[in-house]
Symmetry: C2
Subunit: 169 residues, 2 copies
């Protein structure tokens, strides 16, 4: 069973964490939440979900995990202002480990400069950013690139996102 | 005296609207707030400021204004998901009218594809996006490009931002 690093902070899109996390757990995988500090609680932008942080970013190594999950909302833009999260995400992309990013999640991958030539999608507002970053942008419910990178646009796309992510675990 | 179109929605960075707006008004200029709908109130992310919307985007033309002001926070990313705001901002850039964008404000200018070859700065998290969009990125309190585009990074930079913006009005 896979150990999935989940980078998340306040103002995440609630269902973009809760739904995939539930699907991953039901399939027997381990979802490990990572933010700046272990033990703190982060809250979704709709205040429907709070998430207890399992590990601080300084206490983990990419090598400890099999995959990376980046929920959307206003969480990824905050995470990418912290170089530790950018470096952490870059490592999964460089090592071609499964990476699942939904909505604004690809923002972290842009800042890590890892989208060049990669087929991907994302929330409407960041699609131009993704194109400028060299992604081969598609506007569809899920994009799977080289059996490694799974991206989706918005909450409606979650069933397709979960389905394709689970295939790679 | 100048008529300044101010595009703004919920979750704006409070002081990045209130401080420049006050400086512009004290200098005798007219600050006109624009969102989807006239009469609604939008609230800053710190809940320190609420702003009454003067005009709906469908009721204004770029030709009605002398300059454009884009406060930061999580407002610009929402505005750029609406093509009407992207087109509105593009018009000011194309016509070389003064444009003032702080923090996440340049996100709207990225989506409008108007930053290529322009000297500019922005909030740390969007600096890579700006570089990918072709901006000549500088990391300083204010960047002034061709006596037209004034950009700043964050609330600390507001005094420099106001000073350079006022010079162009």
């Amino acid at each position: 069973m896979a150990k999935i690093a989940t980078v998340i902070t306040d103002m995440f899109e609630d269902v973009e964490y809760t739904d995939p996390a539930q699907a991953f757990k039901e399939a027997g995988h381990d979802v490990v939440t990572i933010e700046k500090e272990k033990g703190k609680e982060v809250t979704g932008k709709n205040k429907d979900a709070t998430v207890k942080i399992d590990q601080g970013i300084d206490d983990v190594k990419p090598g400890d995990f099999d995959a990376l999950f980046i929920p959307g909302g206003m969480s990824p833009d905050q995470l990418r202002a912290d170089d530790r999260f950018v470096k952490f995400a870059k490592s999964f992309m460089d090592d071609m480990k499964p990476v699942f990013a939904i909505c604004h999640g690809p923002q972290l991958l842009i800042t890590a400069k890892t989208l060049e030539g990669r087929k991907a999608t994302g929330f409407k507002s960041i699609q131009v950013d993704m194109e400028y970053a060299g992604a081969e942008l598609v506007d569809q419910e899920v994009a799977v690139c080289q059996n490694q990178l799974v991206t989706s646009r918005q909450p409606d796309d979650i069933p397709a996102f979960n389905r394709e992510a689970l295939k790679l675990l």
